[in-house]
Amino acid sequence: MTRASNRTLPWKGPYAPYDLVKELFVALGVITLLAVLLTILFSSPDDKPSTIAQWSTAMPADFVSTAVSELDGTSGTAEYGPPYNHAAEGQHAAFLKPQGWLGVSHPINTADAYVFEPLRSIPNDPALQSAVATYKAAPAKQQRQWAEAYGKALENATVEPSGTLKVPPGEYGPVPVMMGALLGLAQTGSLEGNLLRSNQFFQTDYTKPLLFMADGKLLEERAEEQHLLGDQWGMMNETGSYPGQSWLWLYTFWYQIEPFKASENADILVVLVMTVLSLAFILVPLIPGIRSIPRWIPVHRLIWREHYRAQSP
């Protein structure tokens, strides 16, 4: 490719009158009309967000089980690694470890954030305060045993009419008292505001409550109903029967096939593949073969048939 061959030369052939500004206004009118028509026909989806109050009321065992896993550091968030904590190294692709390199920029101690701090906000409950003190004073191994045992017992929990949980008897230490108080707090709706709290008055960052809910099963169950899960090609979908993001087809495709499907590093691998393909897309004019296909497969003969017909004798 030489500079000369890439030079733009003025077209010396025939020109016909063409009103570009009118064309823009016509296009604007057509697109506006289509958008209004689609709005009148179909409106748009607005599935209400899940709340921690709803989660703890409709699925108390899952809520408490999640809270226990935050307490003993076995939840998805607790074991995530950067940017939330150092519990794992994060994803990597060969020597590329950007998740680790960028470090813990949004630190979340799950036991503090989701259990101890909310419980601290409950006043005038000496039994609760004593339970928390007992837990904190116990050795780490004992804390783990209590939490694991209670987590296992929750699999056979029953929900009382009051909304509280009943589990088979066992050695759970102070964990049931703590979790009972947390469940009560959540069911009254106080936990949302509590988790949004920071050292600022105004809040716009929903990271903490969202990570907490995502560690449980409510969001996932709703997502599965709406075909939004990863293995349902959910990235392309909208809630309900609305058209979604069909332009994400290639991005989600890679997650459906090996080696990405079963890989712990699926995200970084897929992003790398898509980065390469995106660069190739941008640089199509420079890629031999790809840039010649339009010449070999003459769709242009149809597009410019009037021009070619006018040229032939």
Partner: protein
């Protein structure tokens, strides 16, 4: 030639030199602009205008408005369908430009700016989806965070931070998309619409282009005998 020029003069002369008024807004086009496929570029532009217009109305009353009133929901619907139409027309435009090999004749930058616009529009849409403050936003943000975190972007681009995502969505990404589209359209005006492949007189197949002529608006009146072969 004066040795010293003001920046203003140099800017003006460069701009007017690159795009004199009759090139910026010509009232004719080469006769080979003869297909409906050509309208999909301007249709995409129209889609972008409707997106921005409906977006401006949505931001008048803040991000929670559309949940609370029928009028707000109406404009949210316009905004969503305009996004669907925008991507629809942009992809059809892209298909057309690929099969025309519209990068020929010095138009590589036109293709490049168009491709980058498409790629930037995708995270622009993502920031919108996670700013909806509904279940869809909860799900998309808690899923998308994994890809962001895996590549390290999550350290400074937090999809679960509504305030940040809303800012990117209503200001930073629209500015980027509009700047790219402006560059793209100005480049098309500068270089003109790509001309048809020249067909070999013998085989009728598209010949490999040497210096492919442009459809750039003529500075001089058209000269007979040049240009397209018979």
């Amino acid at each position: 030639m004066t040795p010293k020029r003001s920046w203003t003069v140099r800017t003006r002369e460069a701009a007017v030199g690159a795009l004199p008024p009759e090139k910026l807004l010509p009232d004719d086009q080469p006769a080979y602009v003869d297909s409906w496929i050509y309208v999909f570029g301007v249709a995409t532009l129209a889609g972008l205008i409707v997106i921005i217009g409906s977006g401006m109305i949505l931001s008048l009353k803040g991000p929670a408005w559309w949940h609370d009133t029928g009028v707000g929901h109406f404009f949210n619907s316009i905004h969503l369908w305009a996004v669907e139409l925008f991507f629809f027309t942009m992809v059809v435009h892209l298909w057309g430009k690929y099969w025309m090999a519209a990068w020929r004749g010095g138009r590589t930058r036109v293709w490049v700016t168009g491709a980058i616009t498409f790629l930037i529009a995708i995270p622009a849409a993502l920031t919108g989806y996670v700013s909806q403050q509904n279940f869809d936003a909860q799900w998309i943000s808690t899923q998308a965070k994994d890809a962001m975190n895996a590549i390290g972007a999550g350290a400074f681009f937090n999809v679960t931070n509504f305030g940040q995502m809303y800012s990117w969505h209503i200001l930073l990404f629209p500015v980027a998309v509009v700047a790219l589209v402006a560059g793209h359209v100005l480049l098309v005006r500068r270089h003109g619409v790509v001309p048809p492949f020249e067909l070999s007189a013998r085989t009728g197949a598209a010949a490999p282009s040497a210096a492919a002529p442009s459809g750039a608006p003529h500075a001089d009146p058209p000269v007979g005998g040049g240009g397209a072969p018979s």
